[in-house]
């Protein structure tokens, strides 16, 4: 009878083994450092939770219906902030994306600069941008619009530039060979390839921005976040329940609508 044996295992080189060991040690060190130096007051947290549980959780699930009108109005403002912000971002992102795409602006310098600008913009959390704009234009919804616009530009620009980089360049070359000028190439070779995906990403970003704009009010930039912070300061958990319900419903509806539209476009 024949005996079967497993094929020989691939041999790892010493370098690879060493690399693995070093990485593992680094990760372990990171975790040891993290868990040793963090200090959480478990006793207090548990004691608080035991006291507060009855005061918070049941109330969250029995929303305060008298606040519905006010909550609906704030939620509407949130949607407006997100809409205006994402549209601005979608427009601002286009030139930056063309700058960052390596197949559009001849020369690697431009694309590197563009990519740096985009990742720098992306590094600011929305709320931090909102702080800056609240100080600049005052505590109102327009600060939120500006924060969303700038915050989304980074991510949209990156996505857009990746789309531009993935287009079929042969069409562009064919048009160039036929003597088309830059404008014609842009309109007939580049735009038809990128517009559906651009729209799809802009709509997706609107989805993300609805979530983002619902918390901007915490620093005074309008929308439903203002009500969240009031409800939390007043320990008004019934109202918080209403707000939570409003956010869940609106976000779900917009996610659903947006994914339907995006499926249709692309």
């Amino acid at each position: 009878m024949e005996t079967y044996s497993l094929p020989p295992k691939p041999k790892n080189s010493l370098y690879k083994k060493l690399k693995m060991i070093i990485i593992t040690l680094l990760v372990i060190a990171l975790y040891v450092w993290t868990f040793v130096s963090i200090d959480i007051d478990w006793g207090r947290a548990i004691e608080r939770a035991a006291n507060n549980f009855q005061r918070v959780i049941p109330k969250l699930f029995s929303p305060d219906w008298t606040a519905t009108g006010e909550v609906a109005l704030s939620m509407l403002e949130t949607v407006f902030i997100a809409f205006a912000g994402s549209l601005m971002a979608a427009i601002l992102a286009v030139p930056l994306a063309f700058l960052a795409a390596h197949n559009m602006m001849g020369g690697k310098i431009f694309s590197t600069i563009g990519k740096w600008i985009l990742s720098a913009v992306r590094a600011f959390p929305d709320l931090i941008l909102a702080i800056l704009f609240v100080v600049a234009v005052g505590p109102n919804a327009f600060a939120g619009v500006l924060a969303i616009a700038i915050g989304s530009t980074g991510m949209l620009g990156k996505m857009f530039s990746e789309i531009i980089e993935s287009i079929d360049m042969e069409v562009v070359q064919a048009m160039e060979a036929n003597g088309a000028n830059k404008i014609q190439i842009l309109f007939y070779a580049v735009m038809p390839q990128i517009i559906p995906e651009f729209l799809s990403f802009a709509i997706y970003r609107f989805e993300v921005d609805i979530r983002a704009s619902s918390i901007l009010g915490i620093v005074g930039a309008g929308g439903i976040g203002t009500m969240i912070i009031f409800a939390s300061n007043n320990r008004n958990w019934n109202e918080m329940g209403t707000i939570l319900l409003a956010i869940i419903i609106v976000v779900t509806i917009i996610d659903f609508a947006s994914s339907r539209i995006r499926n249709k476009i692309v």
Binding site: I38, A45, S119, F124, I128, V137, F142, I229, I248, T252
Partner: protein, 271 residues
């Protein structure tokens, strides 16, 4: 010469887009423009001084913020490190908890439909709640501190991570699994030798991605009292101490950029 040729060509070739599409697109365009203008009007109605005033303001404010006060680095180093640690712990816990959830939310593994739909719905609802709202609720429940912040990050990233990983599991090539089962591998062998190697690189990459998101989320959690550097930033803004606030913002910016850079490099190496 070329002009004439072009106009001749235009007459012969039919329009690229049919009239119906053109009308549709124009209507959509005007609706979007209308909503945009209305939103701009709505959001600016409370603004004092209008748009031009705001621009002038912005420059005076920038003067207030600059230069950042470098003297406070020593004082804010501790909270900053704490913020990163919060993100590390939260991401780790979420990565562990996400495994069963992701399996339950994957259509090709969970063949029992009601269970699959329940998990999906719960995850979808979880993902609609913004991280800071979770933090507000947990702070109300557990009091001010790091713990509610970590909990908020865990719950928030669980929603994203479980969805992304369940999609990875759904995209797995089922043939190796079947081959193993056919040649007599037991459940653990099938999972360990056929499923894990296919999912692991994606899993690690997605965990790193969520870690990036958590870093960005954790720096602002302090605004609602959930620990980290946001607390200090909020205080400094409350005192109108803009140079200090700017220093904190610059530091957050640097940390986010560095961590994002490392994470991107790692993810590129993985896939």
């Amino acid at each position: 010469m070329t002009n004439e040729n072009n106009s001749l060509a235009e007459k012969k070739t039919p329009p690229i887009y049919p009239v119906k599409t053109k009308v549709q697109v124009s209507i959509i365009f005007f609706v979007i423009l209308g909503i945009y203008l209305f939103s701009m009007f709505w959001t600016q109605k409370e603004m004092v001084g209008g748009f031009s005033g705001a621009f002038e303001n912005m420059f005076t404010v920038m003067e207030k913020f600059f230069p950042p006060n470098f003297g406070v680095i020593g004082a804010i180093w501790g909270p900053l490190v704490e913020t990163i640690q919060m993100a590390i712990i939260a991401t780790t816990i979420a990565a562990i908890l996400t495994v069963p959830l992701a399996v339950l939310a994957a259509r090709n593994v969970t063949t029992f439909k009601p269970l699959y739909y329940t998990t999906r719905t719960v995850l979808n609802i979880l993902r609609t709640i913004p991280d800071l709202v979770l933090a507000v609720i947990f702070v109300g429940l557990f009091g001010i501190g790091l713990f509610p912040g970590i909990l908020a990050l865990v719950v928030f990233s669980l929603g994203i991570l479980a969805k992304l990983i369940s999609e990875t599991i759904e995209a797995v090539d089922m043939n190796p699994l079947e081959a193993m089962r056919a040649s007599g591998g037991n459940v653990y062998q099938v999972i360990w030798y056929a499923l894990v190697p296919q999912v692991l690189p994606q899993f690690t990459s997605l965990v790193l991605y969520v870690f990036e998101i958590n870093i960005r989320a954790s720096v602002v959690l302090g605004f609602v009292g959930a620990g980290g550097i946001g607390l200090i930033l909020n205080q400094q803004l409350g005192f109108y101490n803009y140079p200090n606030a700017m220093m904190i913002i610059v530091l957050i910016f640097a940390v986010v950029i560095i961590i994002e850079y490392i994470s991107t490099k790692l993810r590129e190496a993985l896939i």
